[in-house]
Structure formats: C-alpha cells, structure tokens
Subunit: 388 residues, 2 copies
C-alpha cells in the first residue's frame, strides 16, 4: 500500500569523470563569498583542493575556509562554521568531501542565522526550520550517506554523548552536487566498505518498515541487487570505475527521499548505530554493520512476510520445501555472507565498545516507532549484547 | 557502464487521495491569470472540473479556458492556446487531464512567446529553447505518459501526417503535479490498458538501449516487476486503489528522466508508434503495443544478452537447459502473454492501419540511432507487415 505523500527533490547533479567542470556553471549563480568546508586534508594530497580552488579563482570568488571537519562533525565545529558564515556574508557553502562534510555544510546553512542555539533547536528539539538558509553545493569524494541529494544533517555533541540527525526539507537540500566517481577511488578500503554498508542500511531501513508491497519495494530490491553486484566487484578491485560509479549512483538513490515515499520508517538501526557513534566516535557505516544482524534477527518475526520476500527477491533464496521462517533466516544468512565478503566490521567489540557503555548507548538511542516494532530499552541492550 | 550525465528534476509532486487540496498552496506562488487546459469534458462529468474551479475562485484567480484538447493534440490547437496565453498575460497554465493535456500545456508554455513558428522551430527542427516560458502545473486524471514529471511534449500536424515530440529541459517541466489515483478510476478500460502498456514501453525503450548493466537497469527491472504485478490486478479490478496508485507512481518514474541517465536511447518503438498515430489518430499506448513484439523480435539478436536478462530477471524464465536465444524468446513470449492478459490491441489492423499507409508511416518514423540497431526503412516496413 502506498500512503499519501509529497515529493520534491530539486538538487541538480553532475555525474561522471568530467563533472567538476560544471562547477563553473553553478558558481555563476551565486555571489562572491564562498565558504569552503572540507575534512582532514586528503583533498590537498589528491589534488582535488587545487582543482577546486583554481575554478573558484577563475570565477573571482573570495574563499573562506573551514578545514578539519571530522567524520562525526561536532556541535563545536558547527559553531565555528556559523561564525565564519555570519561574519563574511557567505553566498554559498561549498562542501568538498564525504557525507560528513555535506552534513556539516547543511548544518551551517540552517544554523548561521538561527536566533536560538541551533543544536538545541534543530537537533535536540527537532523544531521546524524558521530562519533563512545559506545555499549549499557539494563535491562528493566519498560514497555512502546520500547527503549529496537530501536534506539530512547529523551532528554530534561529544560531551552530551549524543549524535542526532535532522531531516530538513528541500530548501536545505544541496542546490547542486558534483559526483565524480574517480574522486572516490583513493578512499581507504575501510572507509569505502563502511560506505557500502551504509548504502545497504539506508535501503533496508526503508524496506523493512511501514507499509509493504508497493512500487517502492520493487525499486529498493533493484537498488539492493545493483549494490550487491557492484560491491562484490569493488571490494576486490576498488579501482574498477564501472563498479564504483554504479555504487555512487545507487548511494544517491538509496537516500534521496524516493524510497520513503508513501511509507513510515523508524530507522532503528541508525538510531542504535548513531548512539554507538556518539560514544565511540566509530565510523558510521561500521556501527550500522555491527548491530544490523542482531537487530534484524530480533524483529524478523514482526515482518516475516517482508523478510521472506527479501530472501527470495534480493538473495535468490530458493523457497522450495522451506517454511517462511526458514526462508527469511536464509535471507539474513545471505546478507551476513555478503557483509563478510566485502569485509565490514561484524561486531561492536571491534569498534571499541565495552559493556560499560551500554547504558549511554541505550540512553542515546531515540526510537520513533512506525516500523515493524518499536524496541524497548531492554531490547536495545539485548541487541547490543548480541552485537559484541 | 554508466555514462556521464546531468540530472535535475524540480517538479513538486502531491500524491494521494487528498492531494488536490495542495493546489491552494501552489496557486499562491503565481499571479492571477490562469489558463485552464482540459480535454473532451470528462472532468465536467466526474466533478473534477467543479472542484478545481472552486479552488481557483477561492484563490481569486481569473480563469481562461482552452477546452477540447484532443488525445493527439494538434498544431492548430496549439496555436489557439498560444493566442489565449499571449492575449491574457497568463501566469500559470493548469493542465487537468492525461498526458495529452500535460503535453499540450508544455507546448503552449514554450510556444506562446516563440518568435518563430513553434511547430517548425521546436518540433520539426528540434532547436533549443530560446524564449521565456509560462509555468505549467498538472492535475493528472490518466496514467501512462509520465508527462507530469518530465519536459516532453508531443504535437501532431494532421495535414503533414507528422507526430513529433520534443524533450525540453527542466525549465519546462511542470512546476507541480497533483497525482490523485482516485481521479484515474473512471477512465474507460481501453484507455486505462493503453496507459499500462505505454508505461511498460517507456521502461523497455530505455532498458533495451545503449549502455547495459548499470544501476539503472536494476531500477528498471524493479519498476517492470511492480507494473506487471499491479496491472494484472487492475486489469481485472480497475477499482483496486492499491494497484492503481502503484501503477500511477510507477508511470511517473518510468519517464521522468531517471531511467535514461548514463544511457543512450533510440526510442524506436515510440518513433514507429507515433508515426502510426499521426496517420490513424489511434490511441498512443495501443500503437506501441501493436508494433512492440515484431520490433523486439527483429532486434533481439542485436541485444541478446539484455533480452536474456529481461527474461530471467523480469519474467522469472528458468534458464536451465536453454540457449541464450531460447531464454530471450521465452522472455518475449511472457511479455506477449501479459499483453494479452491485460487486454491491449495486438496488431495494427485493429487500429485501422492498411498496407496503403505503410509508406506514410515509414516516412514519419524518425530513427535516431543510439540503441542496439538503427533500423532501415525496409526493416520498418517489415515490422509494420509483421504487426498486421
């Protein structure tokens, strides 16, 4: 069943190994002051920084930089970006990096002119946007989050041990994103594979949730099959452009709002995973990988028909002679095999989690309901134990 | 392989049985003068006209009407709409109807301020848009063309026996479209089923063309499986809201530019089908149905691997013990079975085509290349003969 919904995604994408040149076209639409946000400096080593700066200079832009955006961008880093944006009449925030940098750029976009503490207002209290935003553009260098074509932004408060996302509307979505698969080829294997699982998790969160058996489910299955096919190739040969470009495109559609239209979604894996990230600072995709199998095995019976469908349609499990539960379990076993094949972290212990952290993680897990079953706190703790 | 491409689709959609109320929100964005375009008057019988007029009045709009937009909108009707638009300072063209009315609204949008004959400039010579456009909004009452979320517009010149489409860019895409599946429930079975095949044809045209084996192919397969599932239900019970709503959503994604990203496409079935439509004025989806099987059987060997994949992934043909050609043929046989099951017209004779029309049809078939094989004129004639 397909519920009622609205859909609008105005982000303009330029995809391919020649896509950076279109930055020239986009820059003409904005004023002179650019806030360039990027991470730990890998873009300086691989030459992307120089290429981008050259184009900014050719377009007579004045560039203000916020470097060192971390993989879990903190609220303190957010405040720093807001100061730069406010004090320099910024016309465009240009994120060069992965999902963390894109998320950060959107956070600065909505926060710079917020008359309250943006962490409290938009992340803790989840209030609606009520102030002007600064346009954001992205040049993506890492694949996974889908942040290049959605309004999502996740920020971490290390002292409060909280990592919270806000999904803003289309006015906050990047005005444009440049998706050049060659920029993703130099990412370390660990980060690459974490991104692969993040993509799978985005699709699964929306697939295993809310109203079932609509067009969206079929699109999700197509995206999962594409992802499985290409990640098997890329995990062995990260330089395979064809595989990496297909993964990049799959990642965008896995989380650009299409897959959630007409469905309710509870994002429980992300809620637990983000809580793990807040406590450990572990890589986002790996926190999802570590808790996914115990989580799905815990809710399997609440969505048995869908887990059966997942097994047959996505993993080609032969249903002959098996009960629905056996088929569903075989599907999750196939998911586990694929996770091991591409090489994700399979447990929380490897991410530095100890049992003493369970209370903080459970406290930081915000359960929304709307999926097959809203977990209790005890069930979250049980899943964490199973994930060790 | 995924080629380089750009993507932007800013159309805002409101989907569901409550979606008309959002017209209020959209109307506030435009000035007072509305050009209301609609077809033969069915919207007056089923009450949609009154509902829309009430909302227009409540928003203090001045309404100018162009009624009687035909299923193959003519160039003469286009000129009529341009006069109304130019003389009344129209702020928004509101199309209420199926794909033909949406196509027509876009044609008026680009033609009203064209300083040349728009038929010659945009349709015959396929020149780039070079004049201001009038914003278009759509209230969809029939499903199939995808015109509600793309820049395509097909116009017919009856005297020249030509039916030609122009795919305009995102500046011509509808600013908004209201998709209410209940509005589609009163369409006659013949038109409903023709729409179903139009959707399948849109997916197949892009699937069987250009670069193969990328993410887009997997999305196409998901959409086809969803379509087959829901059309089997809807053909028996047209009042099944769930099936009809899923078909409506599938139709939008079948032709909103996503499925052609990174691919080259030749649209040969549409080129032949449109030429048939220009000569016979037959229903668009049925012209495609009548020529599809002979066409695909004629080019099957040129894209054998893809036809094999189509059979296995879309129709669940068991490949065991069969040659690739046998598998591919079994896939097309399954397509044929589905076509008969939903009840489309299976040959050109039933559409009133006679052998004397073959020359005109072949003359009006514009072959672009870029697919598996560019047909010769003789091959087009051979396909027409096979389709009788």
């Amino acid at each position: 069943m397909l519920g009622n919904f609205g859909y609008c995604n105005p982000t303009r994408l330029y995809f391919g190994d020649n896509s950076l040149k279109y930055l020239n076209r986009e820059l003409k639409k904005y004023g002179p002051n650019i806030l360039l946000a990027y991470g730990g400096g890998s873009i300086k080593k691989n030459g992307i920084y120089d290429e981008v700066m050259q184009i900014l200079e050719m377009n007579d832009k004045k560039v203000f930089e916020v470097a060192g955006v971390m993989s879990n961008p903190t609220v303190h880093k957010l405040y720093e970006g807001c100061e730069v944006a406010k004090n320099n009449d910024i016309d465009l925030i240009l994120a060069v990096g992965g999902g963390s940098v894109c998320d950060y750029a959107k956070a600065v976009s909505v926060s710079a002119f917020c008359d309250d503490d943006p962490w409290e207002k938009y992340y803790v209290r989840q209030e609606r946007l009520s102030n002007p935003v600064i346009p954001v553009g992205c040049i993506l260098t890492m694949v996974g989050t889908g942040s290049e074509m959605n309004g999502g932004s996740v920020i971490t408060h290390p002292e409060q041990k909280l990592k919270i996302g806000h999904v803003f509307g289309d006015e906050v979505m990047p005005r444009f994103s440049i998706l050049n698969p060659t920029y993703t080829l130099t990412i370390p294997q660990y980060q690459m594979v974490a991104g692969f699982f993040d993509i799978m998790s985005h699709i699964c969160e929306q697939y295993f949730s809310g109203e079932d058996d609509n067009t969206t489910d079929y699109i999700s299955e197509g995206l999962m099959k594409s992802l499985i096919h290409s990640t098997r190739i890329a995990a062995k040969d990260p330089q395979d452009y064809e595989a990496r470009s297909n993964i990049m495109w799959t990642a965008t559609w896995a989380l650009n709002t299409l897959l959630s239209r007409g469905k309710t979604t509870d994002w429980e894996v992300h809620m637990i995973g983000q809580a793990v990230g807040a406590v450990t600072n572990a890589t986002h995709g790996m926190t999802l990988a570590a808790v996914s199998l115990p989580y799905y095995r815990a809710i399997m019976k609440d969505g048995l028909a869908k887990f059966r469908r997942f097994a047959v349609n996505v993993w080609d499990v032969d249903p002959a002679g098996k009960s629905d539960e056996e088929i569903a379990k075989a599907g999750l076993a196939a998911l586990e095999d694929w996770m091991k094949e591409i090489g994700v972290v399979m447990n929380l212990t490897d991410l530095g989690v100890t049992e003493e952290m369970f209370d903080d993680i459970a406290d930081g897990t915000f359960l929304l309901g709307g999926g097959y079953r809203k977990l209790t706190r005890d069930e979250v703790i049980a899943i964490l134990k199973e994930s060790m």
